[in-house]
């Protein structure tokens, strides 16, 4: 439970380099407790926080998720310069949009994000998010994904027969 499956764990606010290029790590929890945003120059890779303005924001109802934390993380992202390009982790299209998009800006999000744009308050956001998340079904691949990804992408250890199995917890999610 110490993250030792990973080569490096980034604390909030640390910087590291890709070649000569500086990267700042910003903790942006809410969807999960360990979510981070990577800021490099004019670009930010924001994971599951904001989605395209016409789609909204990530869900916060998985075990360990928090709509309140997500609200505050989104405010941190929206405090970046307006012209910052935000690179998303997902897109699902949206009513009236038939093409996938995964790139937007801080200014666009502030102006028109359907969940947080126009200066929605924390109370408005949390109340809306909690009600909306309760209507969502679990992602198709959540059961295999979590078991592998919490081990840094490794499969669970092989069983006595030398084969690898994933578990399906019953009535837990």
């Amino acid at each position: 439970m110490d993250g030792s499956q990973f080569d490096r764990l980034f604390d909030d606010g640390v910087h590291f380099k890709i070649g000569n290029m500086d990267v700042e790590v910003m903790h942006t929890p809410g969807h999960t407790p360990a979510c981070v945003t990577y800021v490099m120059g004019n670009s930010a890779f924001i994971g599951d926080t904001l989605f395209m303005p016409d789609f909204g924001t990530a869900r916060a109802d998985f075990p360990g998720g928090s709509a309140t934390d997500l609200y505050h993380s989104i405010q941190k992202i929206l405090a970046l310069p307006d012209e910052t390009t935000l690179y998303l982790c997902h897109d699902y299209k949206a009513p009236g949009r038939d093409e996938f998009c995964w790139q937007t800006t801080v200014a666009e999000q502030k102006a028109s994000n359907v969940h947080v744009g126009g200066g929605k308050t924390e109370e408005e956001f949390v109340s809306f998010k909690t009600a909306r998340d309760a209507q969502l079904s679990m992602p198709k691949l959540i059961i295999p994904s979590i078991q592998v990804n919490m081990r840094a992408g490794q499969l669970p250890p092989a069983e006595e027969d030398g084969e690898v199995y994933l578990k399906v917890p019953i009535n837990r999610l």
Partner: protein
């Protein structure tokens, strides 16, 4: 020195609605992969490396060096190909330091034993 802006290459995976990125330092060959994807077919329990192999091709044909394989979080909708990428072309795997909280919560959900 002014902050460098990355060269960004996007690879959207329609099977999982997920965007994966290669970000490259404009002043050297160094690059990082953000949120890689290991293809998984739930019905058969089979894994595939088509998406990861495409990234490897892209990196090797351009002569880039993979320094980091980084995750924005523990994804709930696709598997990470981080270990495969590192095994094939090197790099270090990293994530946010609150991963221990995620491991505690989901270690319990999956009764993952003493490792968690």
């Amino acid at each position: 020195m002014p902050r460098l802006n990355p060269e960004v290459h996007s690879y959207f995976d329609e099977a999982t609605n997920a965007a994966c990125y290669i970000v490259k330092d404009p002043t050297s060959a160094a690059c990082a992969v953000i949120d890689s994807i290991w293809d998984f077919d739930m019905a058969s329990g089979r894994t595939y490396t088509a998406h990861a192999d495409m990234l490897i091709d892209e990196i090797t044909k351009n002569g880039w060096t993979l320094e980091w394989v980084i995750e924005t979080h523990v994804h709930a909708d696709h598997l990470s190909a981080a270990p495969y990428l590192v095994q094939q072309i090197g790099g270090k795997i990293a994530i946010g330091s609150n991963i221990d909280t995620v491991q505690k919560v989901f270690g319990k959900v999956f009764n993952a034993g003493t490792e968690f």
